[in-house]
Structures are given as C-alpha cells and as structure tokens.
C-alpha cells in the first residue's frame, strides 16, 4: 500500500521533473542569445547580453535614441539604420517605414530584438546624449499655468548642448500614476551655463508629466533626464534673424537669445512672442533688458485676445501682421519658430509669402 503510493508519487514527480527539465534546457538553448556584438557606424563595438530590444539594449549601454512612447512601437522616434542582424520587419514597424526607408534598412529600434551580432548606423550626435541625474534647485511660477524648473546637475556634472535643443525629463511615480514616463522639454537656459539647466513647463490638462511637475515635484528632489536631442538650434551665419514663439515655446528661443547675448553678435534680430491675454505673458522685463545688450534687437510681445482687464496698450493680433514692419531683407533672413503646429503652419506660410526661403525657416513644432 505505502509502496504503491510512494511509487505513484515518484512516477508523477519524475514525469513533471522530466518536462520541467526539458523546458529549462529549451530556455537555456533557445531563449539564451548569449553575448552579442553591436557594431555602431563600423567603428564602435559594444558587447551586450542578447534577448532584449535594440532600444533598451542601447539604453543600457548609455546610447540614447529618442523615444516618446517608451518602446511600445507607437511613436516611431527610435527609427535607426540596422544594416545586419535585425531579422524580418515586423508588422508593428511597417506603418512607420516608407518603402525607401525599408530599402535603406531603417528599423524601429524598440521592435528589433538583439539575437545575434547587429550592425547599426546612427548619427554621431547621439553619442553626446547622456543620462543625467539632477537636483531640483528651484521651481518658479512664471504665469498661472507655466513654471520654470531649475535642475542642478549631479551626475554627470556638466552638459554640452546647443541653444534650442531639448531634453527628455523622466517623471516619478505619483498618486495613481504607477508608471514613470518621459517627456520632451526644451532647455531655456543658455549653453554657457553648463552645470544647471532650466526648463519651462506649461501645465497640460491631464498631462502625466506636467501634472507631476506642477503639483507634486518639490525643490530638493532628484530627477533624471536624457539629452540633449533635436536639430532646432541657431545656424552660424550673418543673416538677420526673426524668432517667433507662442505659449511655452519661449524656452528654446530664450536659450538662443541668452547665448547670443554672451557671444556678441551684430545680427539684426526681432523676437515676436504671441500670447492670448496679458496673463499669458512672461519674461517681459527680462527680454526688455536683453534688448539693450544687442545693437539691433527688438522684443515684440503681441496679444491676440486682449481683454479689458488686460489694460494692454502694446501690439495686438498675430505675428504675420508684423512681418512687413520687421523683415527688411527677406532673402537674408533666418526664421526660428517654436509653438503649436497651427501657429507654425500659419507663420511659415506668411514668411514664405514675404520671400523668406524655406531652407532658412527652422522650427520646433510642439510634438
């Protein structure tokens, strides 16, 4: 009797044991991709543990591709050229790749799994992108819904960026939000200050990251961000410059103008800042002071919907209304725009009509 029970138990255990053993072996043999080699731009080689997505594998090795969706394959920002070892294109990638992209070996890094040696090509700038740890040294209210955030760098202690570029700030978990997200914000301080950066963050209704900044983040807390990203920065030339911004689009332009003020420029500049009402204006004094530091710089805040309470006796309307007055030499003018897509489209149309060539129009659409 006892023998029978033990015997049966042993047999069942043996069978389950064998099955478990088979699975463990399979896991070791098939799911273990071992050490893989990622060759970057035919120069740099990194040895990595296989099995994860290319995006997160690169992240672990301190190479940061832009990504807004956190690897779910819905933003398409992590597009990069993979010349060998990527495997077939998945249906999740197809919507982001044009036929030309596919011919050129472009893939979404978050969908490509590292299973063998891989060769990728990425722009050299990406090596400059780092992950930073910083302390919130100050939070300042600029308007009723815009805050200025000062981040003092802890690790690494210095950042090298071009005026106009952005960083991706990582939110912490708070209240019901159980996931950390990362969102892009332009740096508003000048690159000359490389131990601290400033961000201008407007509260987005229902925004996960902006709600965190506005309602939960405290001075003294530590935060993480990666950067710098983006190709919205000042081109080095002698041309006149027109800057146009709206809402929190002031950040990159502020960085640019502060940078220019330190590096003495003779270029003719005008900065048109569009807001709805007076309560949306900020940094007015700051820019009026800056006006004096340049030989030829005008700061022009305009309101599209001043109300009676605004008590506004400045300019009204939209930026394009003032092009005739301020663009003297359209062929020799560079335009830097930052704001909502609607604003950029309208302004771009206006600039082209005025005769500014489209190669000289640089912009950062809210994206």
């Amino acid at each position: 009797m006892l023998f029978g029970i033990i015997n049966t138990v042993l047999i069942v255990s043996a069978i389950s044991g064998i099955l478990a053993f088979l699975l463990v072996i399979a896991d070791l043999v098939f799911a273990n991709y071992g050490e893989c080699k990622i060759t970057i731009n035919d120069k740099k080689e990194v040895k990595v543990e296989g099995g994860d997505s290319l995006l997160s594998t690169l992240n672990e090795n301190k190479i940061f591709l832009a990504s807004a969706c956190g690897g779910r394959g819905s933003c398409g920002f992590c597009r990069c050229k993979v010349t060998a070892g990527a495997g077939p294109i998945l249906p999740t990638e197809k919507p982001f790749l044009s036929p030309q992209d596919i011919k050129d070996d472009f893939r979404l890094a978050c969908q490509v799994k590292v299973k063998e040696d891989i060769k990728i090509e990425i722009p050299e700038d990406i090596f400059n992108i780092k992950k930073f740890k910083a302390k919130v040294s100050q939070i300042k209210d600029l308007t009723h819904d815009i805050k200025e955030l000062h981040l003092q760098l802890l690790e690494p202690q210095e950042i090298d960026f071009k005026a106009g570029q952005y960083v991706q700030l990582q939110s912490n978990k708070y209240a019901k939000i159980k996931k950390s997200v990362s969102r892009a914000y332009s740096i508003s301080s000048s690159p000359d200050k490389n131990k601290e950066i400033e961000l201008i963050i407007r509260k987005v209704p229902d925004g996960i990251c902006t709600t965190w900044v506005h309602e939960y983040l405290q001075e003294g807390e530590e935060v993480n961000f990666t950067g710098p990203f983006g190709d919205f920065y000042i081109r080095d030339s002698k041309a006149d410059m027109i800057f146009i911004a709206g809402g929190s689009g002031k950040a990159p332009i502020k960085s640019m103008i502060e940078y220019l003020s330190k590096h003495k420029t003779e270029r003719r500049m005008v900065y048109i800042f569009g807001a709805r009402a007076r309560k949306d204006l900020y940094y007015t004094e700051h820019f009026q002071n800056l006006e004096k530091q340049f030989p030829d710089f005008t700061y022009l805040p305009i309101l599209s919907r001043p109300t009676a309470q605004c008590n506004w006796n400045g300019k009204c309307g939209y930026a394009p209304n003032y092009f005739d007055e301020f663009i003297k030499d359209p062929k020799n003018t560079e335009a830097y725009l930052c704001g909502s897509p609607g604003m950029i489209d309208a302004v771009e149309k206006g600039l082209k009509k005025k005769g500014v060539s489209s190669e000289n129009i640089y912009y950062d659409k809210f994206a």
């Binding site: 049966t8 047999i11 069942v12 069978i15 389950s16 099955l19 478990a20 088979l22 699975l23 399979a26 896991d27 098939f30 799911a31 495997g87 077939p88 998945l90 249906p91 999740t92 799994k113 299973k115």
Partner: protein
C-alpha cells in the same frame, strides 16, 4: 469496425466537430471570435497544438501510464504534457520566427487552458484509437475548431455593425449563433459516426 484514419479525420471536422457537438473550448471560442484575423491566428495555433499533443499524449498514455499502471492519473499528466509542450513551442518560435511569433505567439498561452485540447486527448484514449488514428483525430478536431471559430467570427463581424437588442449583446447572441451553427452541422451526422 475499424475506421480508417482518413474517415476519422473528416468526421472530426464535420460530423463530430469538437466545438459544435461537444461544446468544448467555448471560452476562447467566445472571447477571440470578434475578428476574423485573430480567430484565424488562434485557430491555426489550436490545429498545431492539438495535432502535436494528441500524438504526444497517445505515446505518454500507452508507453508510460499503461505499463506503470497509473492510468487514473491521465488527467494530471495530460495537462502537464500540454502545458509543457505549449511553453516549449513558444520558446522555439520566439527564437526562430519572429514573424510567426508575432502572429501566433500571443495565442499560445491561451491554448494551454483550452479544454478542447485536453478533450481530444481524452477522447482518443476512450475510443481506443491507434497512433495514426489519434493524430488524424487531433488534426481533424483542430481544423474543425478552426472552421467553427472562423464561421462565428465571420458572422459576428457582420453583426457588429448592426443593431442587437441590449439583452443579447456579446456572449448571448454568440451562443445563439453557435447553437444554430451546431444545428446546421447535424446535417452531416448521418454520413459517419465515430462516437
């Protein structure tokens, strides 16, 4: 009378459809039959797993359980074999065919607990099938299940855009449709009887 494997195969698809006559595998049948595309994916995964596990479980039963005299443990052992097999296949597909993994892989975990698969393994023991007959029965049942879920998905996709009385929405209407389909399949029943 010894039935030929081919007859068993056909019968498993039409006359003794595992889903429409035994009503096995209802759970995933109802929940994944909203779109043709995903029901096709699940259907093929079922065909594959059913064929393979009926072969495996036949071997396990006749070469391990019977000699060792522990036939009464077949339920536990069959479930173990099915679960381990599904897991194994998932690992292998992920490694070698990312495309197949993308389309089938997500359905594999669902299949582990699909009772039609266990049902097939148990039926082939009860009916004393030979090895070849078992495989034919497994494959046929899988195809039959695929056929049934495809038919339901096709109908549901049409119904989706139409007005359905509130009380019947979702599972209610699907069960009625399944019932009518089962009635229709009775039409085949005179052709051959395997159970």
């Amino acid at each position: 009378m010894e039935l030929s494997s081919f007859i068993i195969f056909l019968a498993a698809i039409f006359t003794s459809n595992i889903l429409l006559t035994n009503f096995l595998g209802m759970c995933s049948f109802l929940s994944v039959s909203k779109e043709i595309e995903s029901s096709l994916g699940l259907g093929f995964a079922v065909v594959f797993v059913m064929t393979m596990t009926s072969a495996l479980n036949y071997l396990v039963y006749h070469h391990i359980l019977v000699p060792m005299n522990i036939v009464y443990l077949q339920y536990i052992i069959f479930i173990l074999v099915i679960a381990a097999f599904v897991q194994l296949i998932e690992i292998i597909i992920e490694r070698f065919s990312p495309l197949l993994y993308y389309s089938l892989g997500i359905f594999l975990p669902l299949i582990t607990v699909n009772c039609a698969i266990l049902g097939v393994s148990l039926f082939l023991i009860i009916r004393n099938y030979s090895f070849v007959q078992s495989v034919a029965y497994g494959a046929g049942s899988g195809l039959g299940w695929l056929l049934a879920i495809l038919a339901l998905a096709g109908i549901r996709q049409k119904v989706k855009e139409k007005f359905v009385p509130i009380g019947l929405r979702g599972a209610g209407l699907s069960l009625i449709i399944t019932g009518i389909m089962a009635l229709a399949f009775i039409g085949f029943s005179g052709v051959v009887i395997i159970q």
